[in-house]
């Protein structure tokens, strides 16, 4: 933070103090370090923050920026392997870092609550929801069991959960991800805390569900006047909720401003780069090549559960088809069918007019070479014990029989193609960042010399800035190498950035398909319209407007 912004922030906070008393939470010069052996890293490096009662503060930044660490520090907690190395966290006047652990624990859950990213991972699968929701209230806040349950049911109703009186009797696995997230918000609210930390509560959810959660969060925070810290990497999401936004990078504050002021005039170039993906836009080139991939009436099932119903689509040579839909719509299953990992129960896969065998074992090595699948999570797709050289070198050896010097030269070429330095070749995947790992996966797919790339949510696990880099690179590679691409995503901004054509899927069937602009600008199906309406804009009034529209037009979700 430079001197000028510091001065400004100070002036703003002085004004606030004069207007509304002491702030609820003050972090001063907070430093958090990893405490492992070897080199010590500062993951949070001198953070100053202030939060007043009833205020919502948005923390935004790429992964590794220290967002979650700061969020947890607001509870006086650090993850194992880290330690507070300096500064203070004043909550309501008392320094959480100096408090004895017991008193600090007593504050958590009662006065400061935390809502984690993955509700599915945060509930104990062996206990009924209601028992978990009321636990803090009965054990720490001294509320009676009956009263706490009554209160929980009211919160369930307020959060628009179905059957609020009895939903608590269920077990976590009986609810959907979005419902669980709402139960978790109820759990956080049960003691009416002064402060809630939301740690990316919608990141793992579909856009349609995300809207509901955002509405819930806003509604409940306003109703109870709770202060909140909302952590996310999605600018559009945070603008719907936050009064003030703090942009973080490498554990430091890049920029801090009221939401509208930041959107209107971001000062730092890094802040502007958070829009990056939204600014890439491919000029679509429809109808320019013979069909490369032809799917004809594909049906498939896992065991006896049907997942795909009569799906047909076509990818042209050099073109990109984006496959869009919520989780569970069968997008990834379709990718597995094309790759040969799952045999369809009906229909056929044709590549350049020639049918591909249904089962992987029946495909020739050359057929395998021509279709390459890139997975969503590069962490899982790279063997942690193989160096990058082995990972990319193996397909070279297997598919093109390259050895020795020729192989080494090709390896370096491929690394250059995916914009990585050749000295990374000898590293293990663990030593690379998420974006670098995904580039390695792309290089590995290119090493085979494919004609069709199937990209299964390849950028979903990455930050906006890294995403933009990878999408731009994919586009360049496609042009240079004449590749065709089946791009699976749930993110409409990504579709705009890369697709020529769009196929919308829902519950295993194609809802709508066509040229990108036709589908996105003038959708003909209700479901496509719903999906598109749920994609947040970087506009603080977007959510309000959407909810008003829905209220007046009758709930569009009825179309679901």
């Amino acid at each position: 933070m430079n001197a000028e912004t510091a001065g400004l922030a100070e002036a703003v906070s002085r004004l606030r103090v004069e207007a509304g008393g002491a702030p609820l939470l003050v972090m001063q010069g907070l430093v958090i370090e990893t405490s492992g052996l070897g080199k010590v890293q500062r993951i949070v490096d001198g953070i100053d923050l202030e939060l007043h009662a009833g205020e919502v503060l948005g923390l935004i930044g790429e992964s590794g920026a220290g967002k979650s660490t700061i969020g947890l520090a607001a509870l006086g907690y650090v993850r194992p392997g880290c330690r507070f190395a300096g500064g203070s966290v004043l909550f309501d006047g008392q320094d959480l870092l100096d408090l004895p652990p017991q008193r600090c624990r007593a504050l958590r859950g009662t006065r400061i609550a935390y809502v984690a990213q993955s509700a599915t991972a945060s509930f104990n699968p062996a206990h009924r929801l209601i028992d978990q929701v009321v636990e803090t209230a009965t054990r720490q806040a001294g509320m009676g069991r009956r009263q706490a349950e009554q209160d929980a049911r009211e919160l369930f109703a307020r959060l628009a959960l179905p059957d609020p009186d009895h939903i608590g009797e269920r077990f976590p696995h009986e609810l959907s991800g979005g419902q669980l997230q709402r139960v978790m918000i109820a759990m956080a609210m049960i003691c009416r805390p002064d402060l809630i930390v939301f740690d990316e509560p919608t990141t793992a959810l579909d856009v349609t569900t995300q809207v509901e959660i955002l509405a819930c969060v806003r509604n409940i925070v306003e109703a109870f006047g709770t202060a909140a810290i909302y952590i996310t990497h999605d600018l559009a999401v945070v603008t719907q909720l936050a009064d003030r936004i703090v942009v973080l990078r490498h554990g430091r504050i890049v920029e801090e401003a009221p939401t509208r002021a930041m959107l209107a005039a971001p000062r730092e170039s890094y802040t502007r780069s958070l829009w990056a993906v939204r600014q890439i836009r491919k000029t679509p080139e429809p109808d320019h090549g013979a069909p490369l991939l032809d799917l004809d009436g594909i049906s498939a099932s896992y065991g006896s559960v049907p997942v795909l119903k009569d799906v047909s689509l076509r990818v042209r040579t050099g073109g990109t088809v984006a496959l869009v839909g919520e989780s569970g719509s069968g997008k990834s299953t379709l990718a597995r069918v094309v790759a040969g990992l799952l045999s369809p129960t009906a229909g056929g896969v044709r590549l350049q007019g020639n049918g591909l065998p249904r089962r992987l074992q029946d495909r020739s090595r050359d057929q395998l070479r021509r279709v390459q699948l890139i997975h969503q999570s590069p962490d899982a797709a790279l063997n942690p014990r193989h160096s990058i050289r082995e990972a990319i070198g193996r397909p070279l050896q297997l598919h093109s029989g390259l050895k020795g010097v020729a192989r080494e030269a090709r390896l370096r070429e491929l690394m250059a193609l995916v914009e990585l330095k050749p000295d990374l070749l000898d590293r293990l995947p663990g030593a690379l960042s998420g974006g670098q790992k995904q580039r390695v996966c792309i290089a590995r797919a290119l090493a085979a010399g494919p004609e069709l790339l199937i990209c299964d949510e390849v950028t979903s696990a990455l930050d906006q800035v890294v995403q933009a880099g990878i999408l731009a690179m994919l586009q360049r590679l496609q042009k240079e190498l004449g590749l065709s691409c089946l791009f699976i995503t749930h993110d409409i901004a990504t579709v705009r950035a890369i697709a020529d054509e769009v196929v919308v899927m829902r519950r295993g069937a194609v809802v709508e398909s066509g040229p990108r602009d036709a589908v996105l600008e003038t959708p003909s199906e209700d479901y496509t319209r719903l999906l598109l309406s749920c994609v947040p804009d970087v506009d603080p009034d977007w959510l309000t407007r959407l909810l008003q529209q829905r209220a007046t037009a009758g709930d569009l979700t009825d179309a679901r």
């Binding site: 495909r363 395998l368 699948l373 997975h375 999570s377 899982a380 063997n383 663990g430 030593a431």
Partner: protein, 283 residues
């Protein structure tokens, strides 16, 4: 990290473990040179006292003599040869079998997994000792049979662990990538999965090694293991067990030798496993 550097950075516990293992290996390799007397040489009266006993009879023996008047220290040193070699051979064999079959079951799944799994269940259904006794009684208590029987029994446990660990890895996307590349079962087992389950397997190896050791000792104890007069720590305990009731320390020495080696090996393996993690998880 080079070997020398790794040694220099090793924690105290690992150094102790390495020292113990080195001492045993030395005895194993140079038994005839190190041992003061021969393996079966009778040097004095039965159960003569050692260094602690100023009234010890006959020639000086550091750890005293056994029930036949043989030097305990010499027999311990020769015993290291027989016991450790046998245990090492058996454990290696059981790990080879167990790991290969476990990996195969995890990678191929389906019928292969079912058949192997049920076969292992079948073998595991017999109490190990009874099964070993049965086979040894039928086939005779020769070394190859002994090694084979114990390796087979132990391989079932290794199979379970290798299969469970490999199943987790086999579900990962990189194995799918390998399949999509057209790799064969052998490559997937050896190159994709094995390197990722080496750590739990190595830890298990240390544990199993000690169990095998004790199992051979048990068999020797009931007279079906290594046959006299060959020195073996298990049979040394058995032959001299009665001495305990007379307050003679002698049976504690071979028992202590077994315990010390167990500790040494586990210290080394803990360190090796931790080191393996440390290197790969460094970011």
């Amino acid at each position: 990290m080079t070997g020398v550097m790794a040694l220099r950075m090793a924690p105290l516990s690992a150094r102790i473990g390495l020292a113990i293992v080195a001492l045993y290996l030395f005895c194993l390799l140079f038994a005839p040179l190190v041992a003061p007397y021969g393996e079966t040489e009778i040097v004095g009266g039965p159960w003569a006292g050692g260094f602690w006993d100023p009234a010890a009879e006959g020639p000086a023996t550091l750890l005293g003599t056994d029930h036949l008047g043989r030097d305990v220290l010499s027999r311990l040193i020769y015993g290291a040869r027989n016991s450790i070699t046998l245990a090492l051979l058996t454990t290696t064999l059981s790990f080879l079998t167990g790991t290969i079959l476990g990996l195969l079951a995890a990678v191929r799944g389906g019928v292969v997994d079912q058949v192997l799994g049920r076969l292992v269940d079948l073998v595991m259904a017999f109490p190990t000792l009874i099964f070993a006794l049965l086979v040894l009684a039928v086939a005779g208590s020769t070394l190859p049979v002994l090694i084979g029987v114990i390796a087979l029994l132990d391989a079932t446990r290794v199979f379970r662990i290798a299969r469970a660990a490999a199943m987790d890895v086999a579900a990962q996307d990189f194995v799918e990538v390998a399949r999509l590349r057209g790799e064969g079962t052998g490559w997937i087992m050896r190159r994709e999965i094995l390197p990722n389950i080496v750590v739990p397997l190595a830890a298990e190896f240390g544990l199993r090694f000690c169990f095998v050791f004790l199992f051979i000792a048990t068999l020797s104890f009931i007279g079906l293991g290594i046959q006299p007069p060959t020195a073996d720590w298990g049979s040394m305990v058995r032959e001299n067990a009665a001495a305990i009731s007379f307050g003679i320390l002698m049976p504690l020495f071979p028992a202590g030798a077994i315990a010390l080696l167990t500790i040494g090996i586990n210290l080394v393996i803990d360190w090796a496993a931790a080191g393996h993690h440390g290197v790969s998880d460094e970011r």
